[in-house]
Amino acid sequence: MAPEKNMDLGKFRNEICDFLNNHIPDDVWEAVAKTTSYFPAFSAVMTMHKLLATKGWSVVNWPEEYGGPGWSDEQRRIFFEEYCSRGLPMMAPQSVGMVAPAIMKFGTAEQKAKYLPPIASGADTWCQGYSEPNAGSDLVSLQCRADSDGDHYIINGQKTWTTWAFEVDHIFLLVRTSSEGRPQAGITFLLIDSMSLPGMEVRPIIGLDGMPEQAEVFFDNVRVPKTQVLGTENQGWTVAKYLLEHERAAGGSFQFVLRRELDKLRTLANVTDDGHGSKISSDPVFKQKCAELEVDWRCLAASENYARRIGSNHPEAAHMASLIKLESMNLTQHISELALDISGTLALVDQQLALHIGSETPPIDPIEVLTVMPTYLNQRASSIFGGSHQIQRDILAKLVISK
């Protein structure tokens, strides 16, 4: 049933469209055109966050009591459809979709009052201090230590792959507070109010595409009050797991993002010569590959819709979270691969300078190839971050085989 049959939803969609068509600043559209990663330019993310906050639309998945708009599932779907199909940057997931739900679930009244409103407004931004050099897929073996010193902890150790650590002002952290019992039992979840406490150091990591996106974060005797624990000491793994489920289930809107990517692929094919007087879009090899991706897209969209219908308390919810992570990231990668396959040699040119927002270096013609290679390189991470494909398959195997 088309939602527009319901007059209120039709009006709702018009209001969203009107805003998105008329009130987005140029630098955000520039960032949209130059996005080469799962993570768009941070400045554009925060511009949009603050802009949406003025409408009360920055945290649409949050319950109303914490500042959500109180929309129905259908309204949220319409919003994401209109928002994502324009390629606009999603709100920073680490803040809005990870630490915030964890604070809602495990936080004290004081923590909720202190942290949630500035996340909703965009005043506070967070990064995720989980992975360490020797604790990636095996997260539970993490070694970053918080030793008790009166009413403070003293933190020593290192985090890595911390996306946007050099952009944000807060970090949530998994630390080891005990080596007794199972490794899960000695982990504590900490909320850190600054990225520049004495003893903290952030070093950006340059990716294959030449851009900094992740960072290493070092802790050398960093003092943090014990009131910064979320949940209770040594119970951080429960919080961490809850948050990871939110990370995997985030958004539920890959179908709209990837619909746009598939359409961009066609545009690229329409402007690219096949060398024999026609465009790549009429090349049978391209057409077949593209048709296969269309089938994959339909399966993904149907899977997301199913997951949304059954909700997060259904026995299959965990299956669907891993399935969607696998399938959405596979499709993301395959689209970037086909884009590279059909681009000419001009896509091989390193155009980092032209990719910066506000850059005065013009992209080389045709502009469609500008993002192809950096996107291809960057998207190699899609099957690694947020639980690698191998970890997702292990999770699924456990769920499916033990049934």
């Binding site: 990636g136 073996s141 990591i205 690219t272 060398g275 690698s388």
Partner: protein, 369 residues
């Protein structure tokens, strides 16, 4: 099949291995890639001294008298060591044209200059609309009283930054067939825009506006056969380089899987990863077999268009498969610019893109069956 005697080939292989282990640390390579000219002139002179630049040229022109199969081992070493010196553009592509051009004083002189390491010459064949079709040429050459007047645009000219001169393909307005012309880089009317590629190599877009060259600069008339053969030779050279890079990626991945521990054990003990590594090996080995079979049959005639297209398709597919799995098994660290892995991946990705990628040649193959 090789033309050079086995002892010469063994010497070449040994000198290449020595060069890579003694002269080519990854840090040094990266410094060269980001330097102004993008390679080392000192290395290039070593290449000349070691006779690497002479291999495919005839003995009467000062070469070693080898053929394409004789440089395959060297190119594989170049791939293994991630060598950034522009061997393929100057020696393989431009070199092949000169070896087969009219036996004029000009082409003899240029050959001698390449062998001595004194010049770089780049073949400018590709155009905006041509994809990898070497016969799709819009650049024109009009004969005038003073010589030839050339107009058009060439893209992705390898090592154009360092080229002292270019060999340019253009439609001759008289014969309506493609010819090849020698154009010095400082010729009036020629303008160049130089780019760096993601793998660190350099490529240039050339604009030719009423470029006037003397008549003796026409190197080849009716160049269709030679252009196609040069593409074949260049594709084969790229495929050999790719073999070395894939070999190194597989080695690094196996090494890493053995030392990287998660869940208390080396990740090489996980069946899922063991199977990925097996598949990488299978992919590389069958690509190598195909490559070697094509080389061994390369005696009296070049490989058929279908054979060379199949090799380029398979090499491109293998390059992507091995690259993607190498990164996946390395995990996050494989995504960093600091580690060698990503730079091998970028070179392999570029190799697939040059002289027609797997998509292009798969379509040609499909149309030829």
């Amino acid at each position: 099949m090789s033309k050079l005697p086995p002892d010469i080939l063994a010497q070449l292989a040994e000198s290449a291995q020595k060069f890579i282990s003694n002269e080519y640390s990854f840090t040094h390579r990266q410094a060269l890639a980001s330097s102004t000219i993008g390679y080392s002139e000192k290395h290039w002179q070593m290449f000349a001294d070691l006779a690497w630049l002479a291999i495919p040229f005839n003995e009467e022109h000062g070469g070693l008298g080898g053929n394409i199969a004789d440089i395959s081992g060297l190119l594989e070493q170049f791939g293994y060591g991630l060598i950034i010196e522009p061997y393929i553009s100057t020696v393989v592509l431009a070199g092949h044209v000169l070896s087969n051009a009219n036996d004029s004083p000009l082409s003899q002189e240029l050959t001698a200059q390449i062998i001595s390491g004194n010049v770089h010459i780049s073949l400018a064949w590709q155009e905006r609309q041509s994809s990898a079709n070497v016969m799709n040429i819009k650049t024109t050459a009009t004969e005038t009283e003073d010589g030839y007047l050339i107009n058009g645009e060439k893209i992705s000219v390898l090592n154009g930054l360092n080229a002292d001169s270019y060999i340019i393909s253009a439609q001759s307005q008289n014969t309506k067939t493609p010819s090849l012309f020698f154009v010095a880089a400082d010729t009036k009317g020629l303008s160049a825009q130089h780019h760096q590629l993601y793998d660190g190599h350099r490529a240039t877009t050339l604009q030719l506006q009423n470029v006037l060259i003397p008549k003796q600069n026409q190197l080849v008339v009716n160049a269709e056969e030679l252009l196609k053969e040069t593409m074949t030779v260049g594709m084969y050279a790229l495929c050999c380089e790719a073999l070395g890079s894939m070999e190194k990626l597989l080695e690094m991945t196996i090494e890493y899987a053995k030392i990287r521990k998660q869940f208390g054990v080396p990740i090489a003990s996980f069946q899922a990863l063991r199977h990925m590594i097996s598949d990488m090996y299978v992919t590389l080995k069958k690509t190598r077999c195909l490559n070697e079979q094509i080389a061994s049959q390369w005696v009296h005639h070049s490989p058929s268009p279908q054979d060379i297209a199949a090799l380029k398709v398979q090499t491109g597919k293998a390059a992507h498969f091995i690259s993607r799995n190498a990164i996946q098994i390395h995990g996050g660290i494989g995504m960093t610019n600091e580690l060698e892995v990503g730079h091998y991946v970028k070179r392999l990705t570029t190799i697939d893109g040059l002289l027609g990628n797997s998509q292009y040649h798969l379509a040609s193959l499909a149309n030829s069956l």
